[in-house]
């Protein structure tokens, strides 16, 4: 369940030099602006591009090594690849597209596995259609299914949502979430959208100008103030994994628990114990020196200031360690000075329920894991 990639490649004045690894199943975002070299990375991993030099290993098995001239052809690497433009075969029905990789796989899926993947992606009703008769979202789901049915050891997704409008995107996203939660294989998602990262990714690798800048769990990397110029200076945010604790049916609220505190948010579907992922914009977090009284905001979370860094304009960004979870707050420098904030100080973060975005679906139970 691992991928390690060290890639050096030059082309048309661009120099790609990255070194990263993915060490657990789940979804890893390869994040960076357009032209940062993300697609080149996954093309090299998949074998569609032969890098100048480097070493690529999947599950301990080298597939490319420039020192030993090893370059396993793409078709032998068993890496599922979902392209931005889906690339379904126009002359084949959905059903035959799905089976294209499966028929060539040394370990084809069982009928039950096939059914399961088709169900997760919700494409059962499309089987006899031609790709020309599918919507953009349906095409991406079929492309996902086609890649999964070859039972890959790794799944690469090249901005599968970028070409879709918001409506189509929200049609595909829940399927991607279910896939992430049920696939036993690592998924690498190339994206330049921080929103997608916050919603989908467990881990993130930040790529900029051909270099891998940072890698690690999403909540930690997104809350690193030094990386804010790369990870969204305009809208820094914290991502927090939480569990559903209980529902307040009358009030339309749900209480969530996370490492370091509890939060009341607008009602979320899901039984107690279900996992959700929250996104809280730094600008929506107020800081107080003591628990305020007579205030409408219902969430008070105590934390210790771990870092203060000057932000754009009159603002500064503050990283709070809240007993395991990390919370970012963006306040004015003037307020910071007025409160006399400094490293190690204990403060109270005040968060309105309305500013907490639920960013991850609750995965419905499925019979079998995928992959």
């Amino acid at each position: 369940m691992t991928l390690s990639a060290k890639i050096e490649h030059r082309f048309r004045g661009f120099h790609l030099s990255v070194d990263f690894s993915v060490i657990r199943p789940g979804l890893t975002a390869l994040f960076g602006p357009s032209g940062a070299g993300k697609t080149t990375c996954i093309n090299a991993i998949s074998g569609l591009l032969k890098p100048d030099s480097g070493h690529i290993e999947i599950n301990g098995q080298p597939v490319f090594d420039s020192t030993t001239s090893l370059n396993l052809p793409s078709r032998r690497r068993r890496i599922g690849y979902v392209f931005q433009d889906a690339r379904l075969f126009p002359h084949l029905t959905v059903s035959r597209n799905l089976d294209f990789g499966a028929r060539r796989s040394p370990e084809p899926p069982t009928p039950a596995e096939r059914e399961n993947i088709i169900e997760i992606l919700g494409i059962g009703h499309l089987m006899e259609r031609r790709p020309a008769k599918l919507s953009g979202g349906e095409r991406q789901r079929v492309a996902l299914g086609r890649a999964l049915l070859m039972k890959p050891s790794l799944l690469l997704l090249d901005e599968p949502l970028a070409a879709l409008d918001q409506a189509r995107k929200s049609e595909v996203l829940p399927h991607l979430e279910r896939l992430r939660d049920h696939a036993r294989i690592p998924i690498v998602l190339v994206t330049h959208s921080l929103e997608d990262v916050a919603r989908l990714a467990d881990d993130i690798i930040v790529i900029n100008d051909g270099r891998s800048m940072a890698a690690g769990p999403v909540d930690q990397i997104l809350s690193r103030l030094d990386l804010l110029p790369l990870t969204g200076q305009s809208e820094p945010m914290s991502v927090i994994a939480a569990d559903v604790l209980r529902h307040d049916i009358d009030g339309g609220l749900t209480e969530l628990g996370f490492n370091g505190g509890r939060l009341w948010v607008a009602r979320i579907e899901g039984d107690p114990g279900a996992q959700v992922r929250l996104r809280i914009a730094a600008r929506d977090v107020m800081l107080a020196l003591a628990p305020p009284s007579g205030i409408s905001a219902s969430n008070l979370i105590s934390g210790r200031i771990a870092e203060i860094r000057s932000g754009p304009g009159p603002y500064c960004d503050i990283r709070l360690d809240c007993g395991g979870s990390i919370l970012l707050a963006r306040i004015t420098r003037r307020s910071s000075e007025r409160l006399g904030l400094g490293l190690g100080h204990e403060v109270i973060a005040v968060i309105k329920s309305v500013s907490v975005n639920r960013q991850s679906g609750i995965a419905p139970a499925l019979n079998q894991p995928v992959g």
Binding site: G47, Y81, F83, R87, F89, F100, G101, A147
Partner: protein, 231 residues
């Protein structure tokens, strides 16, 4: 209706069809291979191959026929060798007419097929590769089916042009009744014969009917193929 035509005329018609069928089907695999190389291949001498393929299009057919004659004539080295080794002869035989027609119409096939291969998204082949398909697998299961409309168009154009080929055939294999006298050659002969105007008119009507039937058939086939290839 067939009673209106003499046996010799019917023979000219069937001979023309046979020569065209053999010329097109014989040249088709070569044309597909050359078109694929020109569309996707990057090799030195590609421009040279490209011009060579198009040569019959710009050369007068008589010149092509003459070149064939000095290559495959029974006294030419290659022709003599074929005759000695295999007992096979192109010169003054209907097979020679088919060879001439194949070479003259080769550029039509290559052009149409090449255009349709170039129109295929190379990304589809990459996708097939990640799904475990080797080069031959991708060619047979992705490129060929998607190029089918172009292959059909090329074959139909080449077939029509083969039916009408005159100069190269008469130069290379002469005008032998029952062997190399195709429809155009029969019309030419009728015109050259005193009192042959009626026969020429009948043969001309036949040629027109053939052309119209060919057009209708090809349109029908093109529609079917487009549907099959999902375009």
């Amino acid at each position: 209706m067939w009673t209106a035509f003499t046996p010799a005329e019917i023979e000219a018609l069937t001979l023309s069809l046979r020569i065209a069928v053999v010329a097109v089907t014989g040249a088709l695999p070569v044309a597909i291979a050359v078109a694929f190389l020109l569309a996707r291949g990057r090799f030195p001498g590609r421009a040279f191959v490209d011009s060579l393929v198009h040569l019959p299009l710009v050369l007068p057919p008589v010149v092509t026929g003459y070149l064939l004659l000095i290559t495959f004539g029974t006294r030419a080295p290659l022709g003599a060798w074929l005759l000695e080794t295999f007992g096979f002869r192109f010169a003054f035989s209907w097979t020679g007419a088919a060879l001439a027609a194949a070479i003259i119409t080769f550029p039509f096939q290559v052009r149409a097929i090449r255009l349709s291969i170039e129109a295929i998204d190379p990304g589809l082949s990459q996708a097939a590769e990640t799904l475990g398909a080797g080069p031959m697998d991708r060619f047979v299961n992705i490129t060929l089916p998607l190029a089918l409309p172009g292959i059909l168009a090329g074959a139909i154009t080449a077939f029509a042009a083969s039916l009408g080929e005159f100069g190269a055939i008469i130069t290379f294999v002469s005008n032998i009744p029952g062997e190399t006298r195709t429809l155009p050659l029969a019309i030419y002969t009728a015109i050259q014969t005193p009192g042959g105007e009626v026969a020429a008119a009948r043969l001309t009507a036949l040629a027109i009917a053939l052309a119209v039937a060919g057009l209708v058939l090809s349109e029908f086939a093109a529609q079917r193929v487009r549907r099959l290839s999902g375009q």
